[in-house]
Structure formats: C-alpha cells, structure tokens
C-alpha cells in the first residue's frame, strides 16, 4: 500500500543529534557489556564487496563467519555473509550445514543505475544461486527528483522477484542528505514490502551514522504501530569498533525494545567490526587485551 506522504513527519536534525548524544551516555559495563558484545557479533553481516573478490577470499570469509575465533568455540556465529551475486554459489557451498545465511547485493549495486529489467534479472540470478537475503539499492536520482511512486513500484517489483528471500532495501542515506528524506524513503520502502531497511552501500561517505539510524528506527516503530508488521534495520559501513556497536544496540533497545534485539531484526553491515568485537570479548574473558596478530583478518 502506497504510504500517505503528506503524513511523513518532519525531522529536526538538532533534536536527533541531541537524542543520540544522550543515548551514547549509557554506560554499558560488566555482564551487560559481555552480553552486548556477543549479541553484536551474532548480528553481523560479514561483508566483502570488492571488485577483486575471488572464490578463495569468499571461502575464507565463510570460514570466519562459521567460527569467528577458534579458541572460543562457543561464541555465536555471525548472522550472514554478504557478497556479490556471482559469489553466492561459492558462499552457499562453503556455509552449508551452518546457520549462517548468504546475503547478496543486487539491482546494479552500488549505484542502482540500470533498467528495472536488468535489476530484476540481477535479483533473480542471486536468488537462483541460493541467496537467502537480497540487499537492493533504491534509485536515489528518482527519489531526489520527487518521483516517489517510481521508488515504491521498483521496490515492490524487486520484492516479488525475491520470492522467499528476505529483502533489505538500501536507502544510501549519504546521498539523500537530509533526515527528513531518510524518513520519507524509510516509509516508502517499508510500505513497498521491505523486510529490512538499510542505511548504506558502504561505497558513499558518510555511510551509517547514529542519527540516520535513529530516524530509521523511529520510522520502523511508527510503521509497526500502524500495521503490526515488524521491519528489520541494518546500518552498514563505518561501524568498526565494538564501542560503536554497543551504542547502536542501545539505540535499538531504547527505541524499539527487546523484540528487535536479535539477528532476525537487526544487523550490522561490517567487515572489520568482527575482529574488534572478538578482541573485546576475549578481553572480557581473560582480563587482558590480545595483540591483533592473534585474530585472522578475513
């Protein structure tokens, strides 16, 4: 159902930044820190999206996803690995018999500059290869033109092409610039059928920020209240440190509550975050920081 854009609420940037800064003052210590770190690890979409990706690299990535740190075999696995469509079958094979999903970017990622049919074919190919989750990009040019129905129709078409695969819709908030645009794009994506809304491709700066994430979480909350359907959230790009990850989890906890604090409803799109989380977890277990040479870089 097409959303009533007249009802899109305006967003006050200063107010959002103040709220984020207040939430960042939450002091996460002791058991809640350990629990938060493990939770964050379980929510990672471990990602490689480079032109130089090879089957070998993807396989290594998948091993790391299944067993993030061999000395602590009881740690949770990450939620998914995220790759280009032509790497999906390799990832799928490497991850069989694990509970790690395969996510694939699609729809002419990262620019989205292609005809709808090309995007649909791209999506179907990734799904046929075995992708459990599709990360699509919206057409930012059309959005900024004010062609909102184009955005809605495109997302709805891709959603249909996904079949059973979960659809994450990347708004590329760095190109939308204003938080009111972020809110509007979130509303359109959710109404068009997105299972997740996601901040960024990671190819544009700024990528995920906490103010943007807070606005999207509030949009998810309002949509939930309106329709009863839960939508997931995925900030992606620029989240490298465990401390940042905990701050994001605080945003989720205090905006949407405990129901969203699981990998089913919240993901981090990241690659280097995994190791920082592991270092912090090991520090909590052993009381001392390990050198980064003890952690594999996959």
């Amino acid at each position: 159902m097409y959303p009533d854009l007249k009802k899109t609420i305006p967003i006050d940037t200063i107010g959002v930044e103040e709220r984020v800064s207040r939430l960042n003052k939450r002091s996460i210590k002791k058991e809640s820190k350990v629990q938060g770190l493990k939770l964050a690890l379980s929510m990672i979409d471990h990602t490689t999206l480079e032109g130089k990706d090879s089957p070998g690299k993807v396989k290594q990535l998948c091993q790391k996803a299944k067993m993030p740190y061999a000395p602590l075999p009881d740690l949770p696995t990450v939620a998914a690995v995220c790759v280009y469509p032509n790497m999906v079958s390799i990832a799928k094979e490497a991850l069989k018999n694990s509970n790690v999903n395969v996510a694939s970017v699609a729809t002419a990622f990262p620019s989205g500059m292609a005809q709808l049919q090309v995007k649909l074919d791209d999506t179907k190919y990734a799904v046929d290869q075995g992708a459990d989750e599709i990360d699509m990009v919206i057409s930012r040019g059309e959005f900024l033109k004010g062609n909102y129905s184009f955005i809605f129709d495109e997302i709805a078409a891709i959603k249909e092409a996904c079949g059973d695969a979960h659809l994450k819709v990347i708004l590329e908030t760095g190109e939308l610039e204003t938080l009111t645009n972020v809110r509007k794009a979130s509303d359109i994506a959710m109404h068009a059928g997105a299972d997740f809304i996601k901040t960024s491709t990671g190819k544009i700066s700024p990528a995920a920020t906490q103010p943007v994430t807070l606005v999207m979480l509030e949009a998810i909350r309002d949509y939930y209240r309106e329709t009863g359907r839960m939508v997931g959230m995925k900030p992606a790009g620029g989240i490298r440190k465990a401390k940042q990850a905990l701050q994001y989890l605080v945003l989720v906890k205090e905006t949407l509550g405990a129901q969203w604090l699981s990998k089913d409803w919240f993901r981090f799109g990241a690659s280097s975050l995994t190791n920082d989380l592991l270092m912090q977890i090991v520090k909590q277990e052993t009381g001392v920081y390990q050198s980064n040479i003890y952690f594999s870089n996959d």
Partner: protein, 511 residues
C-alpha cells in the same frame, strides 16, 4: 508495561548461553525491559571529602555558629545523614554582613577591574578543576542523577563565572556613557534544586561588578556552597568578599531584614518571594526575585514529533522536575494527541529511576522528605480531580525518596494540578485545536516563566512566541541554559533578570 508479562517470556538460547527476547506480541506493545538490562555503573565516591561538620564561612574563615546549633543534611537517596552544618542566627548574619561591608570598603573596592576579573576567572577554573568532586557532592547532597550534575550543573556553573569574569573590566562597554558602580553588600538566598548553579548565577555577576556577598544556600543542600567557600579561600579571594551563612528560613529572613544589606537576590518559591517583597517594602534595597513557574509546551501537529517527545521528556523529567522553568504542562494539538501520548508513554518506559550515583540513572531522588510528601499530595489531588494518571513501571528503591515519572490526561484548566506548581516529575496534558486556544491556555496561570513552541514552521514560532507571556520562550528545544542569555519571569514568576548583559543591571548603580 505492567500487564505485558505474558508476552515478555525469556527464552534461553543454547548456542551462546544468552537470554533471547521473545517474539512480537499481538497488542503491538514495545517491550523495553525483558532483555539486555544495563548492569549497574555507579560513580565512585573515592577521593570526595565531605566533612562531618561545617561552620559558616565568614571573613575568609570557617567559624562555629554563635549559638552553637547545627542542622543535618540528608542524602535523599538513602535517607542517611551526609553531614552537619551550622544553623545561622541573627548574630551570624550580622557578623557576615559586617565582614562583607569591611571587604567592600576595603581591599575589594580598591582593586582594578582587571584584577577583580582575574579572581573571577580563577574561581571559574577551580570549579572546572574540582568538577568531579563538586558533581558527586551535589548528587549525594541533593539526589540528582550524576549524569546531570556532571554534564549540566557543574559545567554551566563554571561557564557563568567565565562569562561574568569577562565583563569585569568591560562595564564601560556594557553601559556606554555611564559609570557602573557596585551596589555594595548583596544578600543572596538560593534554592535546593540547582545548588551550585544558582550560587554561580548569583555570585558571578555580583563579584564581577565589584560587590561583596552574603549567600545562604538551602537547608537541604548546603554542601557545594561550602565547598565553593573553600574554592574562594584557595583562590586567595580577599577575606569577606564571599561569605556563606547556612541555615533555614529564619537565617534567610535575617539576611533580608539586615539594614546594611544593599540588595537582595532570591530564587525560590512564589510564597516566600511575596514575603520577601513585603518585608522589603519601604526600604531602598534593590531586589531580584526568581520564583515559580508552570511552563507550557505547545506541540503543533506539524512538529517533528519524536524530537518534540524528547523535548517534553527533558522539560518535565530533568532534575526530577525540580526546575522552576520546567515544562510541567503539555498542550498538544488534537489531531496528533493520541499518537503523541502513546509515544510519550513509550519513552517514559525507558527512563531509569533509581540510584542517583549510577551513570545510567535518568531520574534520581526527590530532594527532601518534605518535597516528596508535597508531590504525593498533588498526585492524590490530581486523582481526586478526576484526571487519568499514568506512571512508568519501574521499581523504586526501598529507601530514599523516589517518585515515578507521571503524566495526567483528562485535565481541565481549572484543576489545581494545572494551575499550581508541583515541582516534581508530574506532567499534565491538555489538547487544543487552534493557535489562539493554545496561547490562551498557555498564558492562563498566575505564572509566566517559560514556554516551548514545537512546529516545523518558522512563521508560527514567531507569531505564537510573541503572544506567549513568559520570560523564556524556547522553540523546538527546552531547558537550554546559557550564561549569555537573560532569564526571568512575568507575573508571579518573578522580578528582574539574571544572566547575560541584563544580569549586570541588578548589581550596579549607573551614574
């Protein structure tokens, strides 16, 4: 969320031993408590020295009270005695005023403005240097959350001294063509809600303009003022320039009535303000009064709703609602009122009430038993007036004076909870349909201290702002304090302005 137990069942996940949240529930309630609670994160009391007993600070030294009587200051979060302090009598006040007069006629008036400014700058820096000590003391003595005393009270107190220090040698530019002479001995009486900050509002402009001071902190929160006295001593401020006399109402009356005091500055309740104004009638003492308030937040339907929610939360639940300019009334446009109240309830559920020393605490202890009882009385009055009460569902600590954040809907303009200042975490909610109706309701109390206007439309801000009779109008924000900005009230909210350039006037005679 008291009735959501059935939906928040915890599930043990075998893979990593952590507790997982439950699945969504049918009634669309958000569950903020069943999973991932924050562990306690208390600020340490280490290296914070609070003496067992404090005397007055008069003429540059701590001295015993003339009558030898002491009062107790209670930590409202534990109900334990924090320290004892002198009960000031007429003799003590007289001694303090004499010391202040001697300093005014002596070294202080002979200092150049530039040297005077250096002392005020030095005090500002020393407040910063001792900020941790002052913040922890403020929280132990008054019950406010450490997050607020650390991030608001102490930094803004230092900022006031820095700001007025800058004016000390520039008064010729503040009053072009006039000469600004100090008034003399200033008697200052401050409240318990922001003990150190209110002290800064009073003492910083007084010193910068060349006055001397006799200040009485509130009887429930005297300790930071006494620590400030130590700062004055350590800063080498000439003896008698700042005198701190502790005690209750009678001590304050002795200051007001003392014939050698040239100016009275009072912040506190409107009732006491009226008494002070009566006793000053017929004298030539200058005075400023900062009194009560019943500020309204006006939310238009085109406002940024989620940010407005945050503003309303800060307006009424900041410092347990012990804020004279608190936004204790909410006026929300009818079309969005249901949604707004729902969101407000959700947000209230995430407020953490409890140990003020915990860094995660949002709402600490009510300042005193007396105030605790007064708030509870108003909760009863509200219920008897037929209003609907809603409170957040947190468990309060067993000891100490704590009050859950509370909102009242279904209230009328004539209700006592709408008209009278409660000075606690209690918000009343009314609706309106047109800007005119909002303005009328906002102005329809005996007070006129603060208001907030929330809309995305600039022209509306100016129109409504001009017709709102309050000394402070915030727009799309609330409870912002800056030393450069004047502060004060209309009607029964007070007389005179503090802060900014305007805050210099009460402390100078222009010739």
């Amino acid at each position: 969320m008291s009735d959501s137990k059935q939906s928040t069942e915890k599930v043990k996940d075998s893979s990593n031993g952590t507790t997982k949240p439950s699945s969504p529930n049918a009634d669309l309630k958000l569950d903020f408590s069943s999973f991932w609670d924050y562990s306690s994160a208390p600020e340490s009391r280490d290296k914070v020295d609070i003496q067992e007993k404090y005397g007055h600070f008069i003429g540059g030294e701590f001295i015993d009270p003339a009558k030898g009587r002491y009062m107790k200051s209670i930590n409202p979060a534990t109900e334990e005695v924090l320290t004892e302090f002198a009960e000031g009598t007429t003799e003590d006040v007289d001694k303090a005023v004499k010391a202040a007069r001697k300093a005014f006629n002596g070294p202080w008036s002979k200092l150049s403005a530039k040297e005077r400014g250096k002392y005020v700058f030095r005090i500002a820096r020393m407040i910063q240097e001792r900020s941790r000590d002052l913040a922890i003391t403020e929280t132990l003595d008054g019950g406010k959350p450490i997050r607020e005393s650390r991030d608001v009270d102490v930094p803004i107190a230092a900022a006031h001294f820095f700001y007025y220090a800058g004016w000390a040698d520039k008064l010729d530019y503040a009053f072009p063509g006039r000469k600004a002479e100090p008034v003399g001995v200033c008697g200052q009486i401050i409240p318990w809600n922001f003990p150190l900050l209110m002290l800064a509002w009073k003492i910083a402009p007084a010193l910068a303009t060349g006055n001397t001071v006799v200040l009485k902190p509130a009887e429930t929160t005297p300790v930071t003022a006494l620590k400030f006295a130590q700062i004055c001593y350590d800063a080498g401020l000439p003896d008698g320039v700042v005198n701190i006399v502790t005690g209750a109402g009678q001590t304050g009356a002795a200051i007001v009535d003392h014939e050698d005091v040239d100016k009275i500055a009072f912040t506190g309740s409107t009732n006491v303000g009226k008494i002070i104004q009566k006793s000053l009638a017929g004298t030539d003492k200058k005075f400023t009064l900062e009194l009560g308030g019943k500020g309204a937040n006006i939310i238009f339907e085109d406002a940024s709703i989620d940010q407005a929610i945050e503003g309303v939360i800060n307006a009424i639940f900041f410092n347990q609602g012990h804020v004279c300019c608190a936004g204790s009334r909410l006026l929300v446009q009818e079309g969005i009122s249901d949604q707004f109240v729902q969101k407000l309830k959700d947000r209230m559920e995430t407020l953490i009430v409890g140990d003020p020393m915990d860094k995660n605490t949002d709402i600490g202890a009510i300042n005193s038993k007396e105030q605790y009882e007064r708030i509870n009385e108003y909760l009863e009055i509200g219920a008897n007036e037929g209003a609907q009460m809603y409170q957040n569902s947190s468990n309060l600590p067993e000891n100490g004076y704590f009050c859950k954040p509370t909102i009242f809907t279904d209230v009328s303009q004539s209700n006592r909870i709408v008209q009278e200042e409660i000075f606690g975490p209690v918000l009343t909610i009314q609706t309106f349909r047109t800007p005119g109706e909002a303005i009328e309701k906002a102005n329809n109390t005996p007070y006129g201290l603060s208001s907030g206007i929330w809309t995305d439309k600039g022209s509306k801000i100016f129109k409504v702002g001009q017709e709102t009779r309050s000394g402070v109008v915030w727009s799309n924000t609330f409870n912002k304090f800056d030393p450069t900005s004047p502060f004060g009230g209309y009607k029964e909210s007070g007389v005179g302005r503090e802060g900014g350039l305007h805050g210099l006037y009460p402390y100078v005679n222009l010739v």
